[in-house]
Symmetry: C2
Subunit: 321 residues, 2 copies
């Protein structure tokens, strides 16, 4: 059994290859360009770990992991068009570098390429994995659409936000684990639990991400704090603050979002703290982490097999923040 880091290294080696034919270069170079940036490859590694939770590593897990990573990158290319984002992680986005039409088409062909990897999986497991992949892919599109809708909709409830986050990011983490589990020979009951582990872990991670963007230590967090606040992004913290704050605080918040004063971040953080949004978010994160770990506990395999996934959860969800 391997750790997250060992799986990540193995997958990076496997995935560091050309993914598309040479020609037509106008179609395939943009995809190669985007994939060459690397990345944490969390989802494919979760697929490999989901497999090893139940059995020896099935070589088809690398096909499934590749499909998942290609799918994830397809969503990033199309999301960047929709967000009109000039940069991603400091690199020029595909539509910015190659034009929008090519970005649409190279995203499309990356999604199809993902299915080409699925098609290579042993037919013993492939139909079940294809169904899970399809459902998940459609849910991710739903999440992206809800995210777009919410930006234009002033009243979004916490439940609606959790639903959006679940669809947009958590179901793919969950499906990555379950896909590996299927290839490891897991029973349907165990598949359900590993899926729920991933889904709840994903929500906990997003709560933490929103929290750190507001209250994190900039050195540990790795990016400037307050970005979400500056952009008026709907986050767990903002939605909670709007839900529990006094009418005066609500008016203050809306006013700050409209006026964008220079000290907006500090003022919004003051209101967040006054509403105990920081404490509430820490508890919410713990709640989802605990739910995730409960599902991991329920999985009927030896505890020693669960250790790498427990480590992953602890690595992703920091308790000291």
């Amino acid at each position: 059994m391997q750790t997250f880091k060992e799986h990540a290294a193995a997958f990076a080696t496997y995935f560091s290859t050309r993914h598309f034919p040479e020609s037509p270069a106008t179609l395939y170079e943009p995809g190669e360009y985007f994939l060459s940036w690397g990345g944490k490859r969390i989802r494919p590694v979760m697929c490999l770990m989901g497999n090893e939770l139940f059995g020896e590593l099935n070589p088809d897990s690398f096909e499934a992991a590749s499909a998942i990573e290609l799918f994830h990158n397809f969503t990033l290319i199309h999301d960047d068009i929709m967000d009109a984002a000039p940069l991603r992680r400091g690199m020029v986005t595909v539509h910015e570098k190659y034009g929008q039409n090519t970005a649409i088409l190279s995203g499309d062909v990356m999604l199809i390429r993902a299915y080409e990897h699925i098609a290579k999986i042993n037919t013993l497991y492939m139909p079940r994995i294809l169904q899970l992949f399809n459902r998940t892919a459609r849910e991710v599109c739903e999440g992206q659409q809800l995210d777009i809708d919410f930006e234009q909709n002033s009243s979004v409830s916490l439940d609606e936000y959790i639903e959006m986050i679940t669809l947009k990011t958590s179901v793919l983490l969950a499906a990555s684990l379950e896909t590996g589990a299927i290839l490891g020979g897991a029973s349907e009951g165990n598949c359900r639990h590993i899926y729920e582990f991933g889904k709840n872990l994903g929500i906990a991670f997003q709560v933490q991400d929103d929290y750190l963007d507001a209250f994190g230590d900039p050195e540990k967090f790795g990016k400037e704090v307050g970005g979400d606040i500056r952009q008026n992004k709907k986050t767990f913290l903002l939605l909670h603050a709007l839900a529990v704050s006094s009418p005066e605080q609500q008016q203050q918040l809306y006013g700050l979002m409209m006026r964008n004063p220079a000290d907006k971040v500090a003022q919004v953080l003051d209101i967040f703290r006054a509403c105990n949004a920081d404490e509430w978010a820490r508890e919410l994160k713990e709640k989802y982490l605990a739910q995730a770990l409960r599902h991991l506990d329920e999985i009927a395999v030896l505890n020693v097999r669960k250790a790498p996934l427990k480590e992953l959860a602890e690595f992703l969800i920091q308790r000291d923040q």
Copy 2:
């Protein structure tokens, strides 16, 4: 065994249903809107006919046919964005009605929905159909990219144009027939022939389409003649004329394309006729039609089974024009 019209009626009934969940309506309504326009449904019917060439109609052919039709519609939604087309067949396009971001995303989700139909096919046939579908889908993207590239590239050879047309339109017709053939239990050899029949028929059809746009009887053709010439579209006729005409004629053609005079269509047609491009195109069409029919002849089934496909070829490719 059924005729094209009977299959078309059966498929129209089957396909006249909601294709997506109700919610989120912002994601799924645009797809329902686009699919509600109807259409000739040529590809799904070719799938059903490919099945019946070899055996009793397999109910899974309707799943495969739905996947193919959804895939085709996905390409239209994304192509319309790329072409910035305000209308398609007189209807407001998806990106024009709902915005570009929603058009990208509802195209994406339509492609995924296509794969959900593939996933429902009996596992006896599904892996082979998935592979064919994937390869074809990727080729269609290649064809679309080549089409975009060619618009910006002044020197395109006839072979390059045929390659582009083959990828952009013919391979999907070919794969529709072969998918049905697989579900009808066809051998690999027969599958190859039915694929080649569809591919060559598709090329013949495109040659005819280019021909009719220039030389067709407007009443029979159903749309205004000369549209391709007015838009300086690269067509079989233009590429041939540029290849065989005298230096003076070439200069005249380029001049007409640059200046766009009021009588451009008539002047270009005069040059086409002077180069015998009309006669050449008729011969080229016949050549591909003959190749198609030769492959149909090679298929090892009783001739009576081939009758509906021969009728289809005669219906699509008019000999009197």
